[in-house]
Structures are given as structure tokens and as C-alpha cells.
């Protein structure tokens, strides 16, 4: 009984270990502080975006706008935040509040989140393109410094990923609020009957997603140093894939914060691995998809074993 469950919880970590081992095998030079740092630095913004997506998935919704949102944050931070810190910061806070508003709208009007966020993705992208029609702008120096910091012994991206995973795990899986949030995904009716406001829960979760989207945008900007409205378009799919790779489920409030971060790391590594294999960029997306399918098939097998026992 406990064995398949344990296996399932371990699956994201196993996947990461396999991809990591394969990468080391193909390109032994990556097995160093510098190599890991280089390979994993983009995992930090992906992990943050994945965590944002996980908050939305926790309450049985899906966010198809997180990629363009991350792009928009980068654009604002690379332009307005430099020109006028107060105005820039206000714009960023407004973005987070907008997420809360979306949550309220989705709940109050009982709208499908997929449709609402798909529409919003064009809104975010449109605003970003209006602010910055062509790539440019400049990352605030502090961001650049933070994202390229050289930590002793363990590369910064790994420390950052562990920190994100642990903090979100503690918040969502062990606090009494986390129980309410996950319960909202598991049985919203029961939660409402127990006297909890579903509206408030959804708004909080959407705003948390907004905050992590914001952090993701800033982290990404710190790495790219200049902004581009389209820079994070792929993040929408990455974030969903990361949550699912990490053992989360689309419905029912079953999520795994540590797993989600590990899923994001796996996706980032898989990209590097494919480059080392010298797979032509034309095939990379397809190859990444194939990796996803293999992992999800493994999970389906484990779940099947769990059901049979």
C-alpha cells in the first residue's frame, strides 16, 4: 500500500536524477560548479512560474497567461522601474492585484479559467509590446547582481530552487491556511458549507500566483539583462508541464510544491541535455515533448500499480 505511493512521490526526483545522470554522461564537463550553474540558471524563473501555476491548479483552475505575464513583468521592470522606481513598483503591484481580480471574476461569474486567462494572455502581451515594441530596456543592477551571485560550494540556482520548494511546501502543505486552499480544490462545496469564503480563497491563490509570476519575471530579467515581451511565451506550457511532472493533478487539489520545483528543474535540464546531444533546434520541442510523455507514462504505470495493490 505505502510502496507505490512512496514511489509516486519519489518519481519526480527519480526523473530529475535520470536526466541529470544522462547529461553528465553525455557532457562530463557539466559535472562542476560552473557547469551546473550555467545549465540550471534558467531553472529559477521556470520554477517560480511553475509554482505560480501550481497555486492556480490547486483550486482546480488553469492559467494560460502566466508566460506573457512573466514577459510583461520583465518589460515593466526593465523600463518603468528604472525610469521611476515608485511608478514602476506601483505598476508591478497593480499587476499582482490584477491577478486577484481575475480570480474574483472567475469565481463570481463562474467562468472557465482557461478561457479567461487565454484572453488575458493577449492582454498582457499587448501591454508589454506597447511599452517595449522591440527588445531592449535594462535590468536594474540589483537584480543582475542577485541572479549572478556566486554562492560558495553549491551553485545559486540550486539553493534558490530548494528554498522555493521548501518555503512553498511549508506554506501550502503544513499550514492551516494551506489546508483550506487545497480543500478548495478537493471539495469546494464542503468548504463553503463549513463557512469558508470560496471567493476569498480563490483571490488569495490567484494573488499568490501573481506574486510568483512577478518573482519569475524579475528573476528572468536578472538573467537576460534586457527585456523582450515574448521572452517567456513558452513558460505557460513549461509551468503546466512542471506541475504535472512534479506529481500534481489538474483537478482535485492534489499538488506537490517540491515536486513542481523539481519538475521545473527537469524541464530546464532536458533543454540543456538535448543541446548537448546536438539535436537540431527544429526537433528540440518535439524531443522535450517526448520526454514529458515518457515521464507521464511512467506515472500512469505507478498509479495503475497503486490501484491494483
Amino acid at each position: 500500500m505505502t510502496n507505490p505511493r512512496l514511489l509516486r512521490a519519489a518519481l519526480p526526483f527519480l526523473t530529475l536524477a535520470i536526466v541529470l545522470a544522462a547529461t553528465f554522461y553525455v557532457q562530463p564537463r557539466t559535472m562542476s560548479y560552473f557547469g551546473l550553474n550555467l545549465m540550471l540558471q534558467y531553472a529559477v524563473p521556470i520554477a517560480l512560474a511553475t509554482t505560480a501555476q501550481m497555486f492556480i491548479i490547486t483550486v482546480n483552475d488553469l492559467d494560460l497567461s502566466i508566460g506573457p505575464f512573466v514577459g510583461l513583468i520583465g518589460v515593466i521592470a526593465a523600463t518603468a522601474l528604472n525610469a521611476s522606481p515608485v511608478l514602476g513598483a506601483a505598476a508591478l503591484v497593480a499587476c499582482v492585484l490584477a491577478y486577484g481580480l481575475v480570480g474574483a471574476l472567475v469565481h463570481a461569474r463562474n467562468l472557465p479559467s482557461i478561457v479567461v486567462t487565454l484572453g488575458l494572455s493577449f492582454v498582457w502581451l499587448g501591454i508589454a509590446v506597447m511599452i517595449l515594441p522591440s527588445p531592449g530596456g535594462k535590468a536594474p543592477a540589483a537584480l543582475k547582481a542577485l541572479m549572478t551571485v556566486q554562492t560558495p560550494y553549491v551553485p545559486f540556482p540550486i539553493l534558490a530552487a530548494v528554498a522555493i520548494g521548501v518555503i512553498v511546501h511549508l506554506a501550502l502543505m503544513t499550514t492551516s491556511f494551506g489546508v483550506i486552499a487545497r480543500g478548495a480544490g478537493g471539495n469546494p462545496k464542503a468548504l463553503a458549507r463549513a463557512g469558508w469564503s470560496m471567493l476569498r480563497t480563490k483571490v488569495v491563490m490567484y494573488m499568490l500566483a501573481g506574486v510568483f509570476g512577478l518573482l519569475s519575471g524579475l528573476a528572468l530579467l536578472g538573467l537576460t539583462t534586457s527585456a523582450d515581451a515574448h521572452v517567456a511565451d513558452r513558460y505557460t506550457l513549461y509551468s503546466i508541464a512542471g506541475v504535472i511532472l512534479g506529481g500534481g493533478e489538474f483537478m482535485g487539489g492534489r499538488v506537490n510544491p517540491m515536486g513542481a520545483v523539481v519538475g521545473a528543474l527537469t524541464l530546464a535540464l532536458a533543454g540543456a541535455f538535448l543541446i548537448f546531444l546536438r539535436i537540431s533546434p527544429d526537433w528540440q520541442i518535439g524531443a522535450q515533448g517526448a520526454i514529458l510523455i515518457v515521464v507521464l507514462a511512467m506515472r500512469a504505470l505507478v498509479t495503475y500499480g497503486e490501484k491494483r495493490s
Binding site: 492551516s176 491556511f177 489546508v179 480543500g183 471539495n187 462545496k189 458549507r193 463549513a194 463557512g195
Partner: protein
């Protein structure tokens, strides 16, 4: 301190044209166990939802402990007033642990160390109500069988943190419990009322109502039609007050001829837990009962037969689910679509579903099984629970299946509906259909020609109709218990 726990005066509630509550007056005293009975659709569930604050009444007055609530009545204020509900459809979050589910109803379980307190709280209560329950507070609810889920939910309703417990509403609390745990619950109800907690007990098992309640209220057509001390009622007078007639059963018992002993075998199965022991055999036209304590392999065996794994079945099968919310109904579809889904192949003309034939089949079964609805095109959720279950019966009986598997299908169904369905099953069996019927209600086994008693996934005894007694079923269920 008022002697009234809660009081309703002239409460009315309508859903569109349907008048669910037509002016209900109800008083529950402190420390009283009030039994509430009535057909499905009599308004019991609506009344409970009003008490729990989940539904706002159209008119009427509600007072709690003699005082009118200051704020608008809602789920939150009902919780704060110490009113707890165990609803018929389970309201636990399947993705959370038992302890975490306790947290959901207790605002006070927060801050540092809440989880340890939640664990202790729910474990203590489970131990108190259901000794030997075998539930770990860290078990994820989705992994528990339905009986244990119900135990966890009942225990949760009786846990106390900040708000004192005033009233606990138990809506069909024993529908998924076996005889032993149901008995434990009834014993606990007596203990809890002695401490001053009021309890409203809704059950279709009249024996339960008669033995556990101090006073019984009978509801009919959205009104309380009778309210008297429980001692003044017996089974027959309760049935009479509800408006159904016990004599119907007695008559139909006589009507059915015994199946021929030389009828061909249609099902031959060996439960997966069974070693070399006895097989389960069903002849054509037989009603075969599967009995024993809940969760001892009956459902598993039915599923195994349905999948034809380790079972030889002659003829098409249909399955009637007991957990209709999750396994039975398509809740976005109309009643008609829910009836015809099993028969679509035979309703297909040139690759398309023939809408006339589909509507025809749905209409036929509405009339035959008396599904109470103005239109079969209405959504399935507009029906009361009993009528939803009838729809599932219509789905199976309207199909080409000759073997019907039933997984405790009468869970939470009112007496009137039950009698109608029993008659239908007997008629269909007489016409040559075979039934495999898992039931948790010993009364229902009297309809069977042969009963297989299960324990730990194996058949321990096969009892023919002539030898059937509650005593024997219980003996076979418990023999060598503790091993």
C-alpha cells in the same frame, strides 16, 4: 438558557415551481434526539440545508437557543452557533488527510502545532464513537473505503473546539456503515444527548429511528405532518404516517414463483480472494444476494464479474452503482440521456442516434418506473436522490442486459421508492433476468433466492432462501472474527 436548541416557525422554500418546504414548524429541545422521516422529496434535505445555513428560506423565522440570530443566517453563522451537519452526500475533501479535514470545520485549529491538535481531536472522537475503527488521522480520505469515510465524517461532526456543540444533524448517517458500526453510532447518540447536545437523525431505516430517537417528526410534501414521542410509533404507524403501505410487500412476496431449479447457469464466478472454496453461481431468473459486512469484497466481486475476470457470464450485463454521485449519473446530462446511455447501440440508425427512439425509450421507462419529473429533458440533478437512483435502474433495465449487477443500489433511497423497485426487480426476474444484488440492509436479502455471505474477500457461506435468517447472515459475517 432556553430549553430549545433550535426552533423554526413557518419556514418556506421554493425552487422554481417546486415547493420544497411549505411552512415547516420545528422545535428541537436541548439534549433531544429527534428522528425525522419522510419520503425522498418530502423536504427533509432542504430543511437540513436551511438549518445548516446552506440555503436561505424564502419566509419564516429561525431562533437559536431562544434568540433570533443578529446577522443573516449563513453557513458561517450556523457553524458559529454550534450546528454541524453530516450530509447525505459526503462532504470531506478527498485530497486531504482525516486530520486536515477536521481543520476545515474548525477555525480554531490554526497557528503553531495545529496539526498535532487536529490529529488528537479526531482520533479521540473516533475512538470514542467507533472503537476499533482502524483509521489513522494521517490517512488520505480518498484512499479510505466509503464506510470509513462516513465514520470519519461523523466523528468530525462531533468534535468540539471553540464553539460549543448545540445541534448535530445526521442525514442518513448509517447508509454506508455496516451493522456493527451503525450500532456503535446509535449507542453514541444516546451518550451525546445525555450531555445536552441536540441531534436530528434522518434515516430510512425505521428500526434505527424508532430505537434511537426521543421524538419523531414525519414530513410529507414539505410539511411536518406528525410529531409525537417515539414510543407512540411503531413500524406500521410510521409507514402509515409517511403515506406508504407495508401491505404491498406482503402481497408481492406471494406473487413471484420460485425459479426453476434446472434453469441454465448464467454466472459462474470465484472471488479473487477465494482459494479452492465455493463458487458463486447464478441461474437464469434468479435473484442472488451478496451479504456480509460492508467492504468485505462484495463490490470487488461484482466488478470482477462485470469485467469477466475469473468469471464466466452468459449474456450481456448492466451495472447499477450504489455511489451514484461518483459512479452513476452523468450530472451534466438530461434524465433521458442518463437512461438511454446504456442502450445507444441499439438506438443507432445509420451511425447516428435516432432521437425519436431515444425519447421513446426514455418515456417508456419514466412511466414504467415512475420517475417523478415534468420532463425527461430536465437535467438529472433536478431529481431527488431516490428518483436519480430510479433513473439508474431504468438505464440498466431498459438495456439488453440479461444479468444485472447491483452494488448496494438502495443507499439513501426512501421506502416508497424501494418498494416500487423491489416489485420491479421481482417482475424482471420472473421474466428471466438474473440479478446479483449486494446489499448492506439485511431486510433486502429476503427478496433473494440465494445469499452468499462474504468475509475478508471470500464467500463464507451460501444460504438458500428457505434457510435465510438475520441470525445466520450475521453468524457467517462474524465467524472467526478477529483473525
Amino acid at each position: 438558557m432556553s430549553a430549545e436548541a433550535i426552533r423554526l416557525d413557518g419556514v418556506e422554500k421554493s425552487f422554481g415551481a417546486v415547493r420544497a418546504l411549505a411552512g415547516v414548524d420545528l422545535v428541537v429541545g436541548v439534549g433531544e434526539c429527534l428522528g425525522l422521516v419522510g419520503h425522498n422529496g418530502a423536504g427533509k434535505s432542504t430543511l437540513m440545508h436551511v438549518l445548516a445555513g446552506a440555503l436561505a428560506p424564502d419566509t419564516g423565522r429561525l431562533t437559536v437557543g431562544g434568540i433570533e440570530p443578529k446577522t443573516a443566517w449563513s453557513s458561517a453563522s450556523s457553524q458559529a452557533a454550534g450546528i454541524r451537519c453530516v450530509f447525505q452526500e459526503l462532504s470531506l475533501c478527498p485530497n486531504l488527510s482525516v486530520a486536515e479535514n477536521a481543520r476545515i470545520v474548525h477555525g480554531a485549529l490554526s497557528g503553531f502545532g495545529w496539526k498535532a491538535r487536529a490529529r488528537t481531536l479526531i482520533r479521540t472522537k473516533l475512538d470514542e464513537i467507533f472503537p476499533g475503527h482502524g483509521i489513522n488521522p494521517d490517512d488520505e480520505v480518498g484512499d479510505l473505503p466509503i464506510g470509513k469515510r462516513q465514520m470519519a465524517e461523523i466523528a468530525r461532526a462531533f468534535t468540539v473546539t471553540s464553539a460549543p456543540l448545540r445541534l448535530v444533524i445526521l442525514d442518513e448517517p448509517t447508509s454506508s456503515l455496516d451493522a456493527v458500526t451503525a450500532e456503535q453510532l446509535l449507542a453514541y447518540i444516546a451518550k451525546e444527548t445525555a450531555r445536552g447536545t441536540a441531534i436530528i437523525l434522518i434515516s430510512h431505516l425505521l428500526g434505527e429511528i424508532l430505537s434511537a430517537s426521543d421524538r419523531i417528526v414525519v414530513m410529507k410534501d414539505g410539511k411536518a405532518v406528525a410529531a409525537r414521542p417515539a414510543k407512540t410509533f411503531d413500524r406500521a404507524s410510521l409507514m402509515a404516517a409517511m403515506g406508504s403501505d407495508l401491505n404491498d410487500v406482503a402481497v408481492s412476496e406471494q406473487l413471484r414463483p420460485a425459479p426453476k431449479p434446472d434453469a441454465p447457469v448464467v454466472v459462474r464466478a470465484r472471488p479473487s480472494g477465494q482459494g479452492a472454496g465455493s463458487e458463486l453461481i447464478v441461474h437464469k431468473g434468479e435473484i442472488t444476494g451478496l451479504a456480509g459486512l460492508a467492504g468485505h469484497g462484495q463490490t470487488k466481486t461484482l466488478l470482477q464479474i462485470f469485467a469477466r475476470q475469473g468469471a464466466e457470464v452468459d449474456g450481456p450485463m448492466a451495472f447499477i452503482a450504489g455511489d451514484r454521485q461518483s459512479d452513476g449519473i452523468f450530472d451534466l446530462w438530461s434524465i433521458a440521456q442518463n437512461v438511454t446511455v446504456r442502450s445507444l447501440r441499439s438506438l443507432t440508425r445509420r451511425g447516428f442516434v435516432d432521437p425519436t427512439a431515444e425519447a421513446q425509450l426514455a418515456r417508456t421507462w419514466r412511466d414504467r418506473i415512475a420517475i417523478r419529473t415534468p420532463s425527461m429533458d430536465n437535467n438529472i440533478l433536478t431529481l431527488s436522490g431516490g428518483n436519480q437512483q430510479k433513473t439508474l435502474f431504468a438505464r440498466a433495465l431498459g438495456s439488453d442486459a440479461t444479468v444485472i449487477l447491483m452494488d448496494d443500489p438502495m443507499r439513501g433511497v426512501d421506502v416508497g421508492t424501494k418498494l416500487e423497485v423491489y416489485a420491479m426487480i421481482r417482475a424482471e426476474a420472473a421474466a428471466g433476468r438474473s440479478f446479483l444484488w449486494y446489499t448492506t440492509e439485511v431486510d433486502e436479502l429476503t427478496h433473494c433466492d440465494r445469499v452468499y455471505v462474504f468475509r475478508n474477500g471470500r464467500i463464507t457461506e451460501a444460504i438458500d432462501a428457505a434457510d435465510l435468517s438475520e441470525q445466520r447472515v450475521l453468524q457467517a459475517s462474524f465467524a472467526e472474527s478477529g483473525t
